[in-house]
Symmetry: C2
Subunit: 339 residues, 2 copies
């Protein structure tokens, strides 16, 4: 493989720092990394590959020196402004914001699921929403064999999805609660410790949250079939790291539940079946934290319809839900001569 020049945009945030760890682990053949951020963070240094990198300021000239790929994780407004600039300079942008995901000419990719979408792009590739990414692996596996008719998500999402401020709300909330004091959340609209908030991102006109609508829209786009019925209820829970999801599935074709488990176990090394109830083994957020794989278990027949499945899916939302998937997209493109 050729060596590439890589820009990391938004290296100072919580997701950005995990990007650096994942890039170290994947150790792609890179001749040079340049870390960029807004003026506020420019000049800071971060540890990366055993040396200190100085973060440079992201400007309209940042991509003039020629990059093969830029990994963006700096929010929607930064992506909106700078991704087209980078793309116009010939740099492939893999963007972790929601800014470009539903654009028709922007591939929305989970590499284990729909890498073929990377064949046609205009230098902007979108990384899906965290809660969507992890569900795609079991859903694609099942879809391949039995077809997908309908998917119902109920999520149990970690506070790390709301960044460092989400972390602080849970940590401070737990301390306050255990001291017998009122919680004083700064990030969430309500206390998060000892509570479940059925509210992630803003509310839309149809009374869904934007997070719920993302799961509906992105599931269909990634799986490439708008006829799949999808609905979602997304919930923030008092968990630091790792999203869990209760997924109810209706397939087109009949199945044996043992065949479903086997398919999930064999689908891809990126998904691990953890399904041994007799020994209290099932996917857990605490176990998934720090891991790059998607974990799936509690696979059972839903007896309320002819072809129904219940399952439980867990992944580290900052890794597979963001940084890992983004790096995997770049790795796939590199290995397939797309960069």
């Amino acid at each position: 493989m050729k060596e590439i020049r890589v820009a990391v945009v938004g290296a100072s945030g919580m997701v950005g720092r995990t990007f650096l760890r994942v890039l170290e682990e994947y150790n792609l053949p890179v001749s040079e990394y340049v870390l960029m951020a807004s003026a506020r963070s420019a000049g800071k240094t971060v540890a990366f590959f055993d040396r200190e990198y100085v973060i440079s300021e992201l400007t309209e000239q940042s991509f003039d020196s020629g990059f093969d790929v830029a990994l963006f994780s700096a929010g929607g407004s930064v992506s909106k402004q700078f991704a087209p600039i980078a793309a116009a300079k010939g740099c492939v942008v893999v963007d972790n914001s929601s800014q470009w995901r539903m654009e028709p000419d922007v591939p929305l990719v989970v590499p284990e699921v729909n890498p073929e979408a990377l064949q046609n792009h205009k230098n902007i590739i979108a990384n899906p929403n965290c809660s969507t990414i992890q569900a795609m692996l079991p859903l694609k596996a099942i879809m391949e064999e039995w077809g997908l008719k309908r998917v119902i998500y109920s999520t149990y999402q970690a506070v790390s999805g709301a960044g460092l401020a989400g972390y602080k709300d849970l940590e401070n909330g737990a301390v306050s609660y255990l001291d017998g004091k009122e919680q004083s959340p700064q990030k969430f609209p309500h206390p998060i410790f000892s509570n479940c908030l059925p509210h992630i991102d803003v509310f839309l006109d149809n009374d869904y949250t934007k997070e719920e609508q993302k799961m509906v829209n992105e599931t269909r786009k990634i799986l490439g079939d708008d006829r799949i019925g999808v609905t979602a209820t997304t919930v923030r829970v008092p968990v630091f790291d790792g999203h869990s999801e209760s997924i109810n599935i209706e397939t087109h074709k009949p199945f044996e539940i043992e065949d479903v488990k086997k398919k999930l176990a064999d689908f891809h090394e990126g998904m691990v079946l953890v399904d041994d109830p007799a020994n209290n083994k099932y996917p857990l957020a605490l176990d998934a934290a720090g891991r790059n794989e998607v974990f799936v278990g509690r696979v059972r027949r839903d007896y309320s319809i002819e072809n129904g499945i219940n399952l439980w899916c867990v992944a580290d939302n900052i890794r597979k839900g963001a940084a890992t998937n983004t790096v995997q997209i770049a790795k796939y493109m590199l290995e397939h001569g797309m960069l």
Copy 2:
């Protein structure tokens, strides 16, 4: 109303103590309360109605003195042994265990939902499982107008459902985690702080947990229709008090979503619609703790099928899920000349 003589069996446990608080609040016309428990707790005193009550030992002779009603909350084995003895002495047992729930001649009752089931009994009435009770109110309301075809539950259940030991696991787990130490759960099979356990009660041969199977079976019995498709994924979350539930519903008849909200708001004073997303108002476990009502919100059309509804339902699992519903059953029977 006549004055009645009431036995409270299992007054020393966590649910038992809440029973006493709820009995104080409802202040039924009772001539005498006798508090009973196993030999281990007998002799202890508890504060009740502004005086100290001594807990007497539960024996085969305990009901010889003649009681109108006995509220049992001492676990399945105590109910199995002593409920028939009390019943044979002419005492109506309202039992909070799962021991008798699915017996054909035992009414399983949520007073706002199926009080008619109280017409025929053999002196044993069963209080449903906590996670089932709260869901019955919105489901019955919707069933009355549009019929119920299918229900899919995903629950977010508080540790108080596992008693004081569950409380301790969350409290100690949070302290350990915040100190950077390993959690050492005593009650749950895995750490509960910063985690979600898709495992409540024991696993059955069909890979459902008993809690999940209870929700399936009890929903049908209470709503009086075995044709309703029901499935469930039940999950323990790091919340001290109050179960939350994501409920996906398919009705037989078409509806306008605003009519569904109106029906839920008007159904019964025991259910409160909290559904004002624009002002971040929806049911929350922290708000439901200590309350006797069921709270419902996030009511939305599920666009993935023709007649689909998503909603979010929260209640205090020790109150409406146990003590309150039990006391309400006794109150209903008293007010309707059934005692």
